[in-house]
């Protein structure tokens, strides 16, 4: 018998109690020095010889018998794999080859498949696990089911990375990156289903992306430098997935553009514009002087002179509006009508493009924070006992603990929990989201019940003191070459072409009380964001 067999026998004999370690070693004196350290390690690995109590065994057995005797609910006849395949035969010819290859991989039968389920990247059986997943995908005909499965597989890749991190293993970058392909595939499938079902799937994808973002964010600080890059990339992917899901949720037409989480520019193409809605010219919206061309919206255009916040994504020549939030109606509508500028002519309108636009102190404060996880939505509920709020985003509800959060309204006034009761339905932005022990906590919560105190208004106040000119037309910034200056990330466009919409909030006409209108300073309606030199 060789030493490997002797070791195995000793391990079993010591484990069963047949011999002690010394007794076992005494049988093989020539191998004592070699086997002793290995047996010591094996003993350390042996799990405790726990056995269930006789009472538990009897109790569980009795319950099992009751369970077995319970009548079964009527089940649909179980379909065999042939029943699945028969109607698909013509379409499946190319698939059959793949299936045969995968069947070959699992030539050991379902035994190997069973054992492979818990494997992680770099494990011997991991390719079998992935092969089975691919086969499952191929054999799932329904688009909605396929979307769900792809979403699950994306989650699984992240879970594997988390498990690797917690085991102190190096993250397998390629396995983690494949989550992006699954998300893109899920989005593609969702585009093929009916709108109501699509919304449900998008809500699930949004939720799942946020969850993945939180899990990856949690392990990131614990990882060595070599693994951090892959995880950071995966976090970006989940952020984009959330953006895509949220945008498509608000505007299903967005899915026709085949958005991808691999598109580096998609986040830069996201914008929010606030202002008074000045007009809809055949699909071109004017919001506070900002022209948004080729609007694709599933909601109807706002009414004239309505104060709104519009959010969306630019794709090619089109702008996909995903959300329109209306400001609360002002009590004195005549004031608004009086201060609203006349409808500008197309020649007068210029898109405002000023990357140096000063942002509100609020936003700057947030930007100064490390780029953390963010959730935007509506305030759905408050639980005073648990000190949590619920936020609805893309049809999903997220519960967030406010323990250490700074909760303020858009003006920066602190809000406490009882005050939030009256603000349900208000616009919410949560930043610095983290998760510990299953509890989501936020660093900062901003609630804007009416969008009244918009960021644009704060900007107007800031510029009012420096600007002496009355706003007339807004002109784009020009750089030295005479071209319109564009927001970072966008290519300059010739002067004679309409610039693309910007992600800069538009100034809003300040609701000057009538008695202040005579004051020249107070009459500055629009922030002068760009000037000619």
């Amino acid at each position: 018998m060789n030493k490997e067999d002797l070791l195995a026998n000793c391990i079993d004999e010591v484990d069963s109690g047949k011999y002690t370690l010394e007794e076992c070693l005494a049988k093989y004196p020539e191998l004592r020095d070699e086997l002793r350290p290995l047996l010591e390690v094996a003993q350390c690995l042996q799990s405790e010889k726990v056995t269930p109590s006789p009472e538990f065994r009897m109790r569980a057995r009795s319950r099992l018998l009751q369970e077995m005797r319970r009548p079964e609910p009527a089940l649909r006849p179980r379909r065999s794999i042939l029943d699945w395949l028969r109607p698909l035969a013509p379409a499946l010819k190319p698939v059959v080859a793949v299936a045969l290859v995968i069947a070959g991989l699992s030539a050991a039968g379902s035994t190997t498949i069973y054992a492979a389920q818990g494997s992680l990247p770099q494990d011997t059986l991991y390719p079998v696990k992935r092969g089975v997943e691919n086969l499952h995908l191929v054999l799932t005909p329904d688009a909605a089911d396929k979307a769900r499965l792809n979403s699950t597989l994306a989650e699984r890749r992240v879970e594997e990375a988390v498990a690797q991190a917690k085991l102190g293993r190096e993250i397998d970058a390629s396995a983690l990156q494949s989550s992006a392909a699954h998300i893109d595939a899920a989005v593609k499938e969702i585009a093929a289903v009916k709108p109501e079902k699509a919304k449900e799937l998008l809500g699930g994808l949004s939720r799942s992306s946020l969850n993945q973002q939180l899990e990856l964010d949690e392990i990131l600080p614990t990882l060595p430098e070599a693994s951090q890059k892959a995880v950071r990339k995966a976090i970006e992917t989940t952020r984009r997935a959330n953006l895509i899901a949220g945008t498509a949720y608000g505007n299903p037409k967005f899915l026709t553009t085949s958005p991808s989480v691999l598109d580096d520019g998609i986040e830069a193409a996201h914008f929010e514009v606030e202002g008074v809605f000045l007009g809809d010219d055949d699909g071109n919206w004017n919001i506070g002087g900002v022209l948004i061309k080729n609007v694709q919206s599933s909601q109807s255009a706002p009414g004239p002179s309505e104060s709104v916040r519009v959010e969306g994504v630019v794709r090619g020549e089109k702008v996909f509006v995903s959300e329109i939030k209306h400001k609360e109606e002002r009590k004195d509508k005549s004031v608004e009508a009086a201060i609203a500028p006349p409808q500008p002519t197309p020649e007068q309108v210029r898109a405002v493009q000023n990357p140096d636009l000063a942002v509100s102190a609020d936003r700057k404060e947030e930007e100064d924070d490390e780029k953390g996880i963010e959730v935007k939505g509506s305030l759905a509920g408050i639980d005073q006992e648990r000190n949590t709020i619920s936020v609805t985003m893309s049809g999903s509800k997220v519960s967030i603990n406010l323990g250490e959060a700074s909760v303020r309204d858009a003006k920066g006034n602190a809000l406490d929990l009882p005050e939030l009761q009256a603000l349900q339905g208000a616009d919410v932005k949560v930043t610095g989201l983290t998760r510990k022990d299953g509890v989501l906590s936020a660093k900062r919560v901003r609630i804007d019940p009416s969008l009244r105190q918009s960021q644009a208004e704060q900007q107007s106040e800031k510029y009012r003191s420096t600007s002496k000119q009355q706003p007339e037309e807004k002109k784009p910034d020009k750089n030295d070459s005479g071209q319109s200056q564009v927001k970072p990330g966008r290519t300059p466009v010739p002067e004679n072409q309409r610039p693309k919409p910007t992600a800069v909030p538009a100034p809003t006409p300040r609701p000057d009380p009538p008695e202040e209108r005579e004051n020249d300073k107070e009459q500055k309606q629009h922030q002068d964001e760009s000037r000619d030199d």
């Binding site: 030493k3 490997e4 067999d5 070791l7 195995a8 002690t20 370690l21 010394e22 350290p37 290995l38 010591e40 390690v41 094996a42 003993q43 350390c44 690995l45 042996q46 799990s47 405790e48 010889k49 726990v50 056995t51 269930p52 538990f56 065994r57 569980a60 057995r61 319950r63 099992l64 018998l65 369970e67 077995m68 005797r69 179980r78 050991a108 039968g109 379902s110 035994t111 190997t112 069973y114 054992a115 389920q117 818990g118 494997s119 992680l120 770099q122 494990d123 011997t124 059986l125 879970e159 988390v162 498990a163 917690k166 085991l167 102190g168 293993r169 899990e215 998760r435 022990d437 299953g438």
Partner: protein, 184 residues
């Protein structure tokens, strides 16, 4: 009908045909092993009992679909148990449960020679296992964490039992080397 001494294959076959007595015999054969597996992952008696019971409930519901293709029945039960432990952690913490990193429970009362083993810190050993590569880690995982026999492991990994023992030997040697270095 006394099923006590029926070979396991026959018992399993009858169980797949929804024979309650056969399945009850299977329960008797496997309950300790399932409990030990679950306990090693939860370190909590109440949770282990609850999950163990659920394993057999689920196994009974799914027994009709168990295919006797040479897969060890224990492997099938391990998959069910593993998934239930997974769900258990997910419900509690909304996080992915750890595989090899589950706490090893404290050693039962052992003789004097076992005291010498106390010098081997379980935490070190556990971490060292996670650093093994490929087949070595899998053999250690299946043998010591999941309680598979050599015969079962050989079927799962499609290798001879002799080969499994060789891998085990090398894995234990590597572990020992890692542990000796870390304790220097």
């Amino acid at each position: 009908m006394d099923l006590t001494y029926q070979p396991e294959d026959a018992l399993i076959q009858r169980a797949t045909e929804r024979d309650e007595a056969a399945f009850a015999s299977i329960y008797d054969s496997y309950v300790n092993r399932v409990y030990r597996y679950v306990y090693s992952r939860t370190s909590n008696q109440t949770d282990a009992e609850s999950i163990t019971q659920d394993v057999f409930f689920k196994a009974w519901k799914a027994i009709g679909s168990y295919k006797r293709t040479g897969a060890p029945f224990w492997a099938w039960l391990v998959v069910i148990a593993r998934n239930l432990v997974y769900e258990h952690y997910r419900k509690r913490t909304n996080q992915v449960p750890l595989e090899e990193a589950e706490a090893f429970s404290q050693p039962a009362e052992q003789g004097p020679e076992a005291m010498t083993e106390a010098k081997l810190d379980r935490k070190f050993v556990r971490n060292a296992v996670s650093r093994l590569k490929g087949e070595k880690r899998e053999v250690i995982r299946m043998r010591f964490l999941e309680g598979f026999s050599y015969e079962e492991i050989s079927k799962l990994m499609n290798k001879s039992q002799g080969a499994i023992r060789v891998i085990q030997y090398r894995a234990l040697r590597d572990l020992r080397t890692m542990l000796d270095r870390s304790q220097c």
